[in-house]
Amino acid sequence: MQLTDWLHKALQFEKHINQVVIGQQDVVRLMLITVFARGHVLLEGNVGVGKTTLLRAVAHGLGGGYQRIEGTIDLMPSDLIYYTYLDKDGKPRVDPGPLLHHGEHLATFFFNEINRARPQVHSLLLRAMAERSIAAFNQDYLFPHLQVFADRNRVEKEETFELPAAAKDRFMMEINIDVPSSDSVLDELMFNPRFHDTDQLISQLPDSGMEYTQLNGFAEKLQQNIQISAKLKQYALSLWRATQKPQDFGVTLSDVVMPQLMLSGASPRGMSYLIRAAKVRAWLHSRDYVLPEDVQAVFAPCMGHRLFLSPLYAYRHEQLLPALLTGLLSAVAAP
């Protein structure tokens, strides 16, 4: 299991995804990073920008058990674990639900419109995501290869439930996906019939050549082989401290009293995810050591959903958070 062999496969896989979901190279790169860092992904964007297509394409390319569920207001945790029905003989039956259907071969669990589900369902996912296991029918079920993909649209707020902080923290990245800006890409999406039939588009994806059962082992090897220098550790530590007290690092935002801004900074889990993701990015750039640029490239998607503003400023978070993230990166120097 050589790093360079896998790198070739990974870049090929990325190339194929980019042919299916065009004009989203940055998003596809971040998705690829989460796959090799073994992190869960939350995609956020407007309706019809290709969130679901992207997640389905990645899931298809990775192979393994795939399950999908749509978030609805009446979805209950038990709906993920089992469902009951009358069989053709009229006898009551209890069958495994989407989470248990593939057992330990479940590789991708795709939660569409996650913010439409109630907090009870989010709570069930807490353990499934953090420990890759759930308890049902008096026993524990393990999903060692599970990667959760979730998406939510940011257009509607009615009949939706904000994800609790604990659930958000279990996602390695929250990736924002926007409409591509390039005219040629928009032209392709509008007029090329290839992009009109999503099912056919995804079925054309060639096999990635990466066995999903080997991903965990490879990710572990990757994490051990990519080097982090003392200076980089110092840089990451400063960034972490800056998320907690941005005012100490000279970060200023307009119309904000900086000492009152933060309710909580990044969590230790968030920082460990950040470093895992930075290592994968370094590997994808054919390096065996991490640069500050690697950390910066994954900083916003890894940290954006982990920083909580005080109630005084929470209503402006959509405006303040991007400025804060940019300010943090601009305030910490390395070396």
Binding site: Q227, S229, K231, L232, R287, D288, Y289, V290, L291, P292, E293, Q296, S330, A331, V332, A333, A334, P335
Partner: protein
């Protein structure tokens, strides 16, 4: 002479009080002459009593008109503990409104301090106090004089303050200059600082050698960060050059510098050779030349 004259009226062993109730009784008053309409006359009464004696403060004179020409403007008292007893200090402030046509003797009427001891009431008289008031107008009417009859006091002449103004101006300028220099040292004038960042970097690295490569890189990074206004990283070099086109000629050297620094700080152990230090110093000198030219 405006020396206050103190009168001491010490009345010891007051016959009309219970035995030992009053240990000391003093009335302090100012000079008894030289008052005119509107003057204020303070009076302080000090009374020391045994510990079981209480002054009936409700019976003290209250603020307000005493008679048609005298007003009590202020009446306060204070009680402090002394060994085996109490000490009362009563401050009264009278104001005279009498308009005499000639020098006249008046009296502030006395009153009695009420003291209670074991349910019995006794009193300690405060005697009348006599003083003289003088008229405000001239004693003789000068009919032949057409000048001002009643006139205000002459204005005091001003003390020359030129020297003080000069001294103030000098010290204020000095303080401003020091504050400005301090602000410069703290980097509060980024534009001023940016115009000589490489001068400072050159000064720092000029005596450093191969062994101090970390310090050399840090000094050059610091200079670029200062010039950029925020930390500058390798991926931002193109953007930096578009904002500072005067450094575009150094594009290759800049890319080498950032790649070298990354390898040194974040990569595997790098073998530093003398040539690297020379290249770094050359880069810094080129930047300094551009900086000097862009001033």
């Amino acid at each position: 002479m405006k020396i206050l004259l103190l009168f001491f009226l010490v009345l010891a062993g007051c016959s009309n009080t219970e035995h030992g109730a009053v240990r000391a009784f003093t009335v302090h008053t100012p000079r008894p002459f030289g008052y005119v309409l509107g003057d204020e006359i303070p009076q302080q009464i000090i009374l020391e009593t045994a510990s079981d004696v209480a002054l009936q403060t409700g019976a003290l004179p209250i603020k307000g008109t005493i008679n048609r020409w005298l007003e009590l403007k202020q009446a306060t008292w204070e009680k402090t503990e002394i060994p085996d007893g109490w000490r009362y200090v009563i401050d009264l402030n009278y104001q005279v409104f009498y308009v005499p046509l000639e020098v006249k003797m008046l009296k502030i009427p006395g009153f009695a301090l009420q003291l209670s001891q074991q349910g019995k009431i006794s009193s300690q008289p405060v005697p009348d106090w006599a003083f003289t008031v003088a008229p405000l107008r001239e004693l003789a009417v000068r009919k032949d004089d057409n000048g001002e009859y009643m006139r205000p006091d002459a204005e005091p002449h001003q003390i020359a303050s030129t020297n003080a103004q000069i001294a103030f101006g000098l010290s204020a300028s000095l303080a401003l200059a020091i504050a400005g220099y301090l602000a410069y040292l703290y980097g509060y004038f980024p534009i001023l600082n940016r115009s000589n960042v490489f001068k400072q970097a050159l000064r720092k690295i000029s005596r450093l050698s191969k062994g101090d490569i970390g310090q050399i890189l840090a000094a050059v990074h610091y200079a670029f960060n200062q010039l950029n206004g925020k930390p500058l990283f390798q991926v931002q070099v193109a953007d930096f050059l578009s904002r500072h086109p005067e450094y575009a000629a150094l594009k290759v050297q800049l890319e080498w510098f950032f790649a070298y620094s990354n390898r040194y700080h974040f990569g595997h152990s790098l073998v530093v050779i003398d040539d690297d230090v020379v290249r770094l110093k050359n880069l810094c000198q080129h930047c300094r030349a551009i900086e000097r030219g862009s001033r």
